[in-house]
């Protein structure tokens, strides 16, 4: 493996891939390698985070990410508190900072936050001593998703270096695409964004990726094909004529997948819109690693909680 892992995470938070070094990413991936084993034990729980409290602050709908974090926290024996926007005082007009300050009175060690505003976790991290973990902020980043995606690729290909990764779909509104582009660039993979021109991000060149407005040429020789969901809730107006037309031009069908490398794997961060961005035959096919992504997500989140639990890394533990 080309990248040497760091000895520790340097910050108290994980708010974005853009703030992690390649060595820190490698450390998280290698720590998750070992934590994957906890899920295969008769007792799927270790006492490591006894006495730690985690607040899961989900201000935007989420099922799998919230469950994944909660399973990770419980497998490490942390105490968990769940706040979601629909059932809390947020709906009564409280600001994020007032909510967070009130939560701090309960002395949590970690706050896992999902928020519709890009940058909300970063601002929270500046004013709150707890470790902040970004579970998705607006259209900015979704770092744990990119890490679990990288982990899944690494299981199949050993190294990320030189991998050709196609990311197709609603790129402009996708924090998953952004975090993946940051991560894959740092780890030496080649990223190709595919979307209708209206859904390509303006800053694609800054992210170090190549862009395509058609799926077929991008798929040539691809090792990984990652399909993204069309995010209807983030479209200010429809950026393409119809779902039907989107499927015709941009969906991953068995015929299109055949253009990629023979060993290529198919990924999707979920939830999938079958028949929109991905054909059911591909989603359930032999090349799909979509369910492995879900399993791996728990190990990645455990790894981040474990590594951040040490606090700042200035004083290495003795013995």
């Amino acid at each position: 493996m080309a990248v040497e892992k760091a000895e520790a995470l340097t910050g108290k938070d994980v708010v974005g891939i853009d703030r992690l070094s390649a060595g820190e990413i490698q450390l998280i991936l290698e720590t998750a390698d070992e934590l994957l084993e906890v899920a295969r034990r008769p007792i799927k729980k270790v006492p490591t985070l006894r006495g730690y409290t985690v607040v899961n602050l989900f201000m935007e709908p989420s099922t799998r990410t919230r469950f994944s974090f909660e399973v990770a926290e419980k497998r490490l024996s942390a105490d968990t508190l769940n706040f979601s926007s629909s059932s809390s005082s947020v709906t009564k007009g409280e600001t994020l900072f007032d909510t967070a300050r009130n939560l701090m009175a309960m002395a949590p060690d970690f706050i896992v936050i999902r928020h519709a505003n890009s940058g909300a976790p970063h601002r929270l991290a500046e004013v709150i001593p707890a470790s902040i973990i970004n579970a998705g902020d607006g259209i900015n980043e979704h770092p744990t998703q990119a890490l679990l995606d990288a982990f899944t690729m690494r299981q199949r290909f050993d190294s990320l270096e030189g991998l050709k990764v196609v990311i197709a779909g609603d790129i402009r509104h996708s924090r998953v695409a952004r975090s993946n582009a940051f991560l894959l660039d740092k780890m030496g993979a080649e990223v190709r964004f595919v979307a209708p021109a209206s859904l390509l991000p303006r800053e694609a060149e800054d992210l170090g990726v190549s862009t395509f407005v058609r799926l077929e040429p991008a798929l040539e020789g691809a090792d990984v094909v990652m399909m993204l969901r069309i995010q209807l809730e983030r479209q200010s107006k429809m950026n393409f004529p119809s779902m039907r037309e989107y499927f015709d031009f941009f969906a991953l069908t068995p015929e299109r997948l055949a253009l990629a490398a023979e060993h290529a794997v198919v990924m999707h961060p979920g939830p999938m819109n079958r028949g929109v961005e991905i054909d059911s035959v591909v989603a359930d096919g032999a090349q799909s690693v979509i369910l492995e992504q879900v399993t791996n997500g728990v190990a990645i989140r455990m790894a981040i909680l474990y590594l951040l639990a040490g606090g700042r890394s200035e004083s290495p533990s003795d013995s």
């Binding site: 520790a8 070992e34 270790v46 006492p47 006894r50 730690y52």
Partner: protein, 191 residues
């Protein structure tokens, strides 16, 4: 042999390669006499792992049957990392691999040095998360004393009389490039 001894630390060799071979052979005899060859050996990272592998090979030679061999990382069970501790670097996780179910097996935990007993406490807690062995025993190459918990070894290669500040170094060719046991002493330590 003592190439890495600095001006501050004096290294005193207490076992050489041949001495280590003899010590391990004696440990094997004790294990086989007590439990026969039907045992599971679980080496604790880092140097319990090569020791367990050597014990397993030797037991296979003596008892004529395959010995189940595993390795255990105790980092997730440590008692010195937690929210009450000042900031620290989390221990690097290593692989835990058990060769099969441990229920009703006689499991030997294997480590190079028995000191405070805290590693063994963590290993015992870890082991019960995998099942309920018939018995758990402890085999160590060196018992250097200074226990902080009520833990004792069943099979001991060598008892070393040490002070708490002395440093016992066990080296295995597989990990360190050479075999042997040394005691490291601070220069002004009286000795």
């Amino acid at each position: 042999m003592t190439a890495d001894s600095s001006s501050q630390t004096r290294l005193l060799q207490v076992l050489d390669e041949a001495g280590m071979d003899r010590t391990i052979a004696r440990m094997v005899a004790e294990i086989v006499e007590r439990d026969g060859g039907d045992v599971m050996l679980v080496g604790i990272h880092t140097r319990g792992v090569p020791l367990a592998a050597r014990l397993a090979r030797a037991i296979e030679g003596t008892a004529g049957r395959k010995v189940a061999l595993g390795r255990l990382d105790i980092a997730l069970y440590r008692d010195d990392v937690g929210p009450w501790r000042p900031a620290h670097q989390q221990p690097v996780l290593k692989e835990t691999v058990l060769p099969g179910p441990i229920d009703d097996r006689i499991v030997y935990l294997v480590d190079d040095v028995l000191f405070t007993g805290r590693t063994i406490r963590a290993a015992l807690d870890s082991l019960v998360d995998y099942g309920r062995p018939r018995a758990v025993r402890l085999a160590v190459l060196v018992d250097r004393g200074h226990r902080e918990l009520p833990i004792a070894a069943d099979v001991v290669g060598r008892v070393l009389d040490t002070t708490a500040t002395e440093d016992v170094q066990v080296r295995f060719a597989e990990v360190d490039g050479e075999d042997g046991v040394w005691i490291g002493r601070e220069a002004g330590d009286g000795g």
